[in-house]
């Protein structure tokens, strides 16, 4: 069977078209080099289906498959899903630690330690006040000064308690804001649901929607900072996924969860988990320590001077107040103007249990924050390194794309030259053949 004279043209045309597609893909990669979540694509080429010549193709009359050029087999997205899972796991830890750090930073700021406005320094002045009163129990100015110092200290304790409450409330408010209908998570969940539908219909019609897949992966990446995520395929809907956040189903094919989500199996991890922990555990812990400190202070001082601090309600730190006035202050138990036993006893409380409890609170907050910072920077390093490995697979390298550009351009030029050659052959065949003697 003879082979068509135009076969060469057809083969080189395929080459031209394939090189052009490859150039298009390179252009797509280059323009998306800075797009978040973009995975580089590749036009996978394969030899075009061969032309089967049944007989007479080779000596001896046998048939053969004649190469028919090149075709683009598929446009593939270069991505390693194993690295995606690793990245998301690390990113969840990072989200948790960075939210913890910023929450604890607020708590540390409220302490105002070390500094003149801090409770430690006010406590020192308070004890000085008692000692000065013990030195001059008759002195009205010393009495007034002590009462004022006591009030300043009580106010500072109450303010710190209020500020800690605010830190907790801010964390819980941010949690509620993330996890509300129409909130950030809701918006992402709905977009994933829409993407699921689009991807599913593409896949069912036999195409690979690379850019939609990138977008969906990016959304899951972002979700992973907020909580633990997992992604699983949906049975019966190829391309579609079920996304869970903190163990709760967030998106199933095209339906997204109703908000707010109640995280049942435990803390959702990530930013959400950290916010919940700060609001529900960390801050209440600090407040309890502050309360115990205030309780100790009131008990110790009132033990030395009955009734200096007024009666306190259940939370001593929130209700501490000086009840004594300059007139009712009694430096001595006997009432003699020079008697100073109570003031001496109160002054001797310096450096005692109350100071110790407060120092422990400061150390605790400082230590927790330091740990959180260290863990945050560790998590950052790990997340970056996983992301680097991911980028190493999926990211766009300009050098590589430039090399490809050259490669495909040359391929195109060569194909064009081959076509030219085929054309010249035809020229000879059509225009010059059989013109003998003309």
């Amino acid at each position: 069977m003879p082979v068509s004279s135009f076969m060469g043209l057809q083969t080189t045309l395929r080459g031209l078209l394939a090189q052009q597609r490859a150039l298009d893909v390179t252009g797509h990669n280059i323009t998306n080099a800075g797009t978040a979540g973009f995975s580089r694509q590749e036009a996978v080429m394969a030899a075009a289906p061969a032309l089967r010549v049944q007989a007479g193709a080779v000596q001896g009359g046998g048939g053969s498959d004649l190469g028919a050029g090149v075709d683009v087999l598929e446009y593939s997205r270069i991505r390693d899903t194993f690295l995606d899972a690793q990245f998301r796991g690390q990113n969840t830890v990072l989200g948790d630690r960075s939210a913890t750090t910023s929450g604890l930073e607020r708590a540390e700021l409220a302490l105002a330690e070390p500094g003149d406005a801090g409770i430690a320094s006010l406590l020192g002045e308070f004890w000085n006040g008692w000692a000065d009163l013990a030195n001059a129990p008759e002195n009205q100015a010393a009495r007034q000064a002590l009462v004022d110092q006591g009030r300043t200290l009580a106010e500072a304790i109450k303010t710190l308690d209020t500020q800690l409450v605010n830190v907790g409330q801010q964390a819980l408010a941010e949690y509620a804001d993330l996890n509300r209908e129409g909130g950030e998570i809701d918006a992402m969940a709905e977009e994933i649901a829409r993407l699921n539908r689009a991807i599913n219909s593409s896949v069912e019609s036999g195409t690979t929607p690379n850019d939609l897949l990138d977008r969906r992966d990016l959304l899951v990446d972002r979700l992973s900072a907020l909580g633990t995520v997992s992604v699983a395929p949906v049975a019966g809907f190829p391309g579609s996924v079920i996304v869970t956040l903190g163990g709760e189903e967030l998106v199933n094919h095209t339906t997204s969860a109703t908000f707010p989500i109640t995280f049942d199996p435990g803390p959702p991890g990530g930013r959400l988990g950290a916010l919940q922990r700060i609001g529900q555990t960390t801050v209440p812990d600090y407040r309890e320590d502050l309360r115990v400190f205030a309780q100790q202070l009131v008990a110790d001082v009132n033990g030395a001077h009955p009734g200096f601090f007024g009666a306190t309600a259940a939370n001593e730190a929130a209700t501490i107040a000086v009840a004594a006035t300059a007139a009712t202050l009694a430096p001595g138990s006997s009432g003699a103007p020079g008697h100073n036993d109570q003031a001496l006893a109160a002054a001797a409380l310096r450096g005692g249990a109350a100071d110790g409890r407060y120092a422990r609170l400061v150390t605790k907050i400082g230590g927790d924050l330091r740990n959180a910072r260290r863990e945050e920077s560790n998590a950052q390093v790990l997340t970056n390194s996983v992301d680097d490995r991911r980028q190493s697979v999926s990211g766009v390298s300009m050098d590589e794309e430039m090399a490809n550009l050259v490669r495909f351009q040359r391929g195109y030029q060569a194909s064009a030259r081959a076509m030219n050659t085929a054309s010249e052959i035809l020229d000879i065949l059509i225009n010059r053949t059989g013109r003998v003697g003309l």
């Binding site: 080099a33 800075g34 604890l104 540390e108 302490l111 330690e113 070390p114 430690a120 406590l123 020192g124 004890w127 000085n128 000692a131 000065d132 013990a134 030195n135 001059a136 129990p137 008759e138 001595g332 006997s334 003699a336 103007p337 020079g338 008697h339 100073n340 036993d341 001496l344 002054a347 001797a348 310096r350 450096g351 100071d355 407060y358 120092a359 400061v362 150390t363 605790k364 907050i365 400082g366 230590g367 924050l369 330091r370 910072r373 970056n384 992301d387 680097d388 490995r389 980028q391 190493s392 697979v393 990211g395 766009v396 390298s397 300009m398 050098d399 590589e400 430039m402 550009l405 050259v406």
Partner: protein, 306 residues
Amino acid sequence: MSVRITQAMIARGTLGSIQDVSGRLTETQRKMATGREITRPSDNPFGTSRALSLRTELDGLKQLQRNIDEADGWLTVTDSALDKMTSLVQRVRELTVAGASDSAGPTARNSIADEIDQLIKAIKQEANASYGGRYVFAGTETETKPYLVDGPDAFQGNGQPIAREIGPGVSVQVNTIGSAVLGNGNADGVDDGRLLDTLRDVVAHLRGGTPADANALRGQDLRDLDQGLQDLLRTRAGVGALQKRLEAAGARIGETQETVKGLLSKTEDADMAATLIDFSTQQSVYQSALKAGANIVQSSLLDFLR
């Protein structure tokens, strides 16, 4: 497979390391500006707790120093009053010796008695010595004059001690009880054998004029006066010893303060030399990071293709 290096990795890596270095630079700069190693508890939680307790200790030591100064002032006033009382009593003794001599006539004895009356007032006046508006001999009744200069001799204060803390957990009694030195006179009809009682006896014997009175002047009264002087001297010696003790305690507290200050500075102050070296090292690292970053980000195959 060799690692592909992509533009995004280069950009993030460059930015990350520049931010890292500039973060450290800011930290060092803050240390230099504040002169503090610790500006927030999280800088060094253990150091913070150490600094807090050292600061409490330092506060306490400063307060003790103030307590000692105050106690010393009190004792100085006490000592000076006792000193004047001693001279006054010595004068009384001289007068008593003069009055007791046979050569002194009733007129002379009466005028001596008058002078001693005045001296008694002066002694009581001394016993009303005050420090910062507080009567130092009145026990804890510091706002009540211990003796009525123009009235009866009864002691108006009480016998309660006044304590000052001069060391951690160490309190001393700084006040001298007036009645322990001068007594209550014999206004209540009971002889307490104290100075005022003795002085009143001397005056009575001078005015009495009988041979028995003269004998008493020469005998019992002089012995009692000597006893009174002895008491005064012993009391002064006690006050002086206490002042010495305060001085020693003050010196010791001063030394401890220096030690604690040193420890505190070591804990929370920045080591300037080390910090400065850190700063210049980090600055040059920062500049190299910037320069390297600028060069890496700029060049690509694009520069060489035509």
